[in-house]
């Protein structure tokens, strides 16, 4: 069943990404002021939203673990946070490349960039914390607490472009009352978001399966040493 879900989501995600690439390059014209480089938004924004959704899913799984003490919630939290960190990395790098052309700089310490970078560092710390602790329940408890703490920063990341007007552009998507893009240019962002969200789901399921295998290995080892 799990394999079928992985297969279906992979095929759907791959097909949608291919169709989106076709749309981005052949149907969407260059932006009047930014030129071709504006197309980076089609990966930058969907990656950012995918990572934030994932981090929140990880936080809810952390809360569920603290409430139920079920290690399956911990496995889900660890998997989804790791996958979200990959998408957060894509967001930071693609944003930096776009900034180099549009702003003339690779990086600036404005509110949006800094808060997102802090978020990235916290989830990197989350993964390092998990590697440092061997005992499964202590690892699950501490990483759940860190995940809840780190999620506060997501609110700051999301709202920063409304609260502070600095280097990063304000809201452009119509769902955030931005209205800064033509409908034909905005639609591929949502389609790519759907494709990346499905890809993230596939990667999360695969990592969860590996977490289960690791738990099985650990318990068999303990059993073998008991002889």
């Amino acid at each position: 069943m799990r394999l079928k879900i992985i297969l279906v989501l992979s095929v759907l995600s791959g097909a949608l990404l291919a169709w989106n690439l076709h749309t981005m390059f052949l149907n969407v014209p260059d932006e009047a002021n930014q030129g071709a480089v504006f197309r980076i938004i089609y990966f930058h924004v969907p990656s950012a939203i995918t990572s934030m959704i994932g981090f929140y899913a990880g936080m809810f799984a952390g809360i569920a673990y603290l409430a139920r003490k079920d290690l399956r919630f911990d496995a889900f939290a660890a998997s989804v946070n790791e996958v979200s960190l990959v998408f957060a990395t894509i967001t930071l790098i693609t944003g930096s490349i776009w900034g180099r052309i549009i702003w003339g700089i690779w990086w600036t310490w404005d509110y949006r960039l800094t808060s997102y970078f802090v978020c990235w560092l916290m989830y990197l710390g989350y993964l390092m914390l998990r590697r440092a602790i061997d005992e499964p329940t202590t690892r699950a408890r501490l990483s759940a607490v860190l995940s809840i703490f780190a999620c506060v920063d997501i609110v700051l990341v999301w709202k920063s472009i409304e609260w502070y007007r600095t280097q990063h552009p304000g809201p452009v998507l119509s769902i955030r009352n931005g209205g800064g893009m033509a409908p034909g240019m905005e639609a591929p962002i949502y389609w790519n978001l759907l494709a990346l969200a499905m890809l993230a789901a596939v990667l999360t399921i695969m990592r969860m399966r590996q977490q289960t295998m690791q738990r099985e290995i650990d318990s068999l080892r303990r059993y073998a040493h008991a002889f």
Binding site: G35, V86, I90, I101, Q210, F227
Partner: protein
């Protein structure tokens, strides 16, 4: 305009490369875990047989 297009290409390349490298890392880890699971299962079987003797 040339560098504009080049940087767009870099952006797409980086996005895809990060995803591809992560997928490769997952695949390698999957293989490593499968091998380790087989090895540990064999070890448990051997220990059980030794105990029965």
């Amino acid at each position: 305009m040339g560098s504009n297009f080049t940087f767009m290409f870099y952006g797409f390349l980086v996005a895809w490369m990060v995803v591809i490298l992560y997928v490769i890392w997952i695949a390698l880890r999957e293989r490593k875990l499968r091998d380790e699971l087989e090895r540990v299962k064999r070890m448990v079987d051997e220990r059980e047989r030794e105990t029965k003797k």
